[in-house]
Amino acid sequence: MSLSYYKQTVIRVQTDDFNLAAEYKKLRDNNPKDGAIVTFVGLVRDFNQSGEVSGLFLEHYPAMTEKSLAEIVDQARSRWSIGRVTVIHRVGQLNVSEQIVFVGVSSQHRQEAFHANEFIMDFLKTQAPFWKKENSKKGDTWVQAKVTDQYKAKNW
């Protein structure tokens, strides 16, 4: 197996849903060097800044989004020895409980995959060009960025 395949990065920005089992399988198949896989899935909650939320719309900056996610993964690779990385982020209209984001990281031992996965999410939340607009009884409102997310990213 070539080194490039072992260290592969997959970035996808899509309106379609994703399948957790299928993504996990891709991180695991033909990957005997890695003893750990950490996966994270972010979901649409029914309660947020505008109160009771019925869904949300995710806008993005198409030319920049994948580039930005790839750079975040590169930064994670420069900090930890990790194997495969998959980042999937959905855009468009999403309902409550739907999947928004997937981050999967494999590594030889668990610590690297845990750290890298959280790092990627923390940087995605403060640097990748996505914006959420929540739908509620009050109408549609743009979600405001949280200072706590900025702190989390700065602490790495």
Binding site: M64, K125, A128, K132
Partner: protein, 86 residues
């Protein structure tokens, strides 16, 4: 021409998502993000406040940059609110 893009809530507040602008204006060249920002701030009512430093992020050719970033003709400059993905 400079290609200028706006996203998220900023796009709604400015009531536009894109505009093109001559790099060379009458009395100056818009050769930094800072100069472009100040020029845009005088363009319409309310833009002074909406485009304030610290309120919006700026990307030049799809890379996040600071206000002192140099820009050249035909660059793509995007202004947007702090991001809320994930």
């Amino acid at each position: 021409m400079l290609k200028i893009l706006f996203f998220g809530q900023l796009k709604d507040m400015l009531k536009t998502s894109a505009l093109e602008l001559d790099w060379q204006q009458d009395n100056q060249t818009l050769d930094t993000v800072s100069k472009l920002r100040q020029y845009l701030q005088t363009k319409e009512q309310g833009w002074q406040e909406y485009l304030q430093v610290g309120k919006v992020l700026v990307a030049v050719n799809q890379e996040l940059v600071q206000d002192e970033q140099v820009i050249s003709d035909s660059d793509e400059i995007a202004f947007f609110p702090p991001v809320t993905g994930g």
